[in-house]
């Protein structure tokens, strides 16, 4: 099994398109081209053997049980600080 990633235009991110079943790299390339490129929709394809992918899906590593909100920008409420800063800046400019 081969995982196929496609890029629509130069510079765009490679996005997972899907996968193809093929006995080897050469036919995988042909099939990826037919499945994800035959309508001219792709600028580039990456065809990766599934075994070559290192997978991480351990919930202890990815979804630890403790509160993670302090690791997200949303964990800090800055609305009031921002308003105060704006007022300060306006009054300083007015002086």
């Amino acid at each position: 099994m081969w995982e196929v990633f496609r890029q629509e235009d130069e510079g765009d991110p490679m996005i997972h398109a899907g996968n193809v079943n093929a006995p080897d790299e050469e036919l995988a390339m042909h099939y990826a081209r037919e499945f994800y490129g035959r309508r001219g929709e792709s600028h580039r394809l990456w065809i990766v053997a599934r075994e070559a992918i290192t997978e991480l899906d351990d919930p202890d590593l990815l979804k630890p049980p403790f509160d993670r909100s302090h690791k997200k920008p949303g964990g800090y409420i800055i609305k009031h600080k921002l308003e105060a800063a704006k007022q300060r800046a306006a009054s300083e400019a007015g002086e």
């Binding site: 079943n21 093929a22 050469e26 042909h30 099939y31 037919e34 499945f35 035959r38």
Partner: protein
């Protein structure tokens, strides 16, 4: 409709029309035969690939029929679907039903290798629209050839059953494959006017030099074979059946505009 290039006299135009028709019919008929694999190819991925390649070939035929229609003030759909069996000019290689998978692979390999040589020559044709079209076709045919070659090697190097079926196909199709380079009635004119940069016999020699080193060890030495005069005129019952299939929709409503 663009008028035929003024520099071509009637003889040259007729010769060019014959050349265009021969290439177009090759692409058209092999496209239809290979489309017979849709739904029943060895695996899903291969089904999509084979069907897509068959569509590409019919697309090439369409472009060539349109070029021909401009030259002869005709209609591409009429040329494709309005002719009788005897009016087709594909090489005898395309007279055979699809057979088993190995047989179809054998034919595709023989055809794609020959077509590559022909397109390389046609890309240098003095008839500019043909040269441009051949250049575009070659970009797509490069992939077709890689695909056919990938399957040829897999069947040749895989199990005994696949190898035997493949070599049976190659051996039985070998004589009719030569006919891709069958001489054209107007060939002398085509070469003289620069419309066809190389005579068929030269392309035929190039093709043999290219495929024999691969096929001879696979099949045991293939016999001497050369194109024949009626190589694009012989027709078979198998082709008559296919003709009935691919004209059935057009015949169902003859006055319809598609």
């Amino acid at each position: 409709m663009t008028a035929a290039p003024p520099e071509l006299d009637v003889t040259a135009r007729e010769a060019l029309a014959e050349l265009l028709l021969s290439v177009a019919d090759d692409e058209f008929v092999i496209g239809f035969w290979d489309s017979e694999w849709t739904g029943i190819a060895p695996m899903l991925e291969e089904d999509v690939a084979t069907s897509s390649i068959a569509q590409d070939e019919i697309g090439h035929a369409k472009a060539l029929y349109e070029l021909l229609a401009e030259l002869t003030d005709d209609d591409a759909d009429r040329i494709a679907f309005g002719r009788g069996v005897a009016d087709f000019r594909h090489a005898a290689l395309m007279n055979h039903a699809r057979g088993d998978w190995a047989f179809s692979v054998a034919r595709r390999y023989l055809y794609e290798t020959a077509d590559a040589i022909r397109l390389t020559a046609l890309a240098r044709s003095g008839h500019e629209p043909l040269a441009q079209l051949a250049g575009k076709m070659r970009r797509e045919e490069t992939y077709h050839l890689l695909h056919a070659d990938a399957w040829l090697r897999r069947l040749a190097e895989g199990g005994a059953d696949g190898r035997e079926r493949l070599t049976n196909g190659l051996v039985s199709l070998w004589p009719d494959a030569q006919e891709i380079f069958a001489p054209l009635a107007g060939e002398e004119t085509l070469v003289r006017e620069g419309l066809l940069p190389e005579p068929m016999r030269a392309m035929h020699a190039d093709w043999q030099a290219r495929v024999r080193p691969i096929l001879d060890p696979m099949c045991g030495a293939l016999p001497d074979a050369t194109p024949t005069l009626d190589g694009r005129e012989r027709r078979t019952d198998e082709f008559s059946w296919l003709h009935g299939e691919f004209t059935s929709v057009a015949r169902s409503e003859e006055a319809a505009a598609w």
